[in-house]
């Protein structure tokens, strides 16, 4: 194998590894999204059952999401008494590393509405 072929195969090898690693890394946001929804679900059922979320509960939701390395978290709560509409909207950015250390940021959203089953 001459030097020309060696360089060619090295480039091909790096390209293959980069493509495979990149495809693998693209699965990460999906897993984080599922966990994000699970955390939001927990606070959402609280909202439905009570009609409201306390400041401490909203802080706790923020902390749990921050611990998952989510960025730019915004929480919006529509409160309501029995029979009124309640809604929880959470926006955040899922940040993860791509090949060659490139950072990727994907926005994600939780948006659920229902009718309150508890008094405010």
């Amino acid at each position: 194998m001459n030097a020309h072929n060696l360089v060619l195969w090295a480039i091909v090898g790096i390209a293959i590894i980069a493509i495979l690693v990149s495809l693998f890394l693209y699965q990460i946001p999906g897993n984080i999204k599922t966990k994000f929804d699970n955390v939001c679900d927990k606070y959402y059922t609280l909202l439905v059952s009570k009609g409201s979320l306390t400041a401490a509960e909203i802080n706790s939701l923020n902390t749990e999401l921050s611990n998952m390395n989510l960025k730019n978290i915004t929480v919006s709560v529509t409160e309501g008494g029995w029979g009124e509409e309640v809604q929880l909207v959470v926006n955040a950015n899922i940040e993860f590393m791509q090949v060659f250390g490139m950072a990727e940021s994907i926005p994600t959203k939780y948006d659920n509405a229902s009718i309150s089953l508890g008094k405010r």
Partner: protein, 170 residues
Amino acid sequence: MTTHTWLILLFFFLIAVVIVWVFILDYQALVIVRERLETNMLAAGWAGFSSLSLEEIATRKDINILDMRNIILDKIVSEQTTRDYVIKNLKLFSDGRASANSYIADKARPVDIDVVIYNYNDVGNPYPYTSIVITVRVPFIMGPGGILKIYGEKTVVANYDTFLIQSQKE
């Protein structure tokens, strides 16, 4: 074989890998959509629980009997409320097609929604409590260029048990 032949074979191999991976990623997206559907459908189910049949509840004579404390829903109102909130949470148009804001990728084909209400004392109720059973059939596109068009079905049961499970998620 010459280097060029190997490179050509490698090129086709990589194309095959990418095509297979697109299907794998689409399948993962399908799993995520199913999870999100569950969340949205259960929320719609809780909305349905606000439609109590006060007339029937008022006919109860002995509240010391545990069964008598179960919820009785107005089936017609509850079904409509549940259906309305499935449409709202999935961000659908009234004809069932997904709007631009919906996470359902296939905007052309409609989502089918089926809601069944079981009061606790209904004959044939498969659950120990009053329950709202929601089934949706969601259009989904898979593969490079959306070559494969399928429908995915998801059923959730909103009742006392599922409320407890959802409130204790980690």
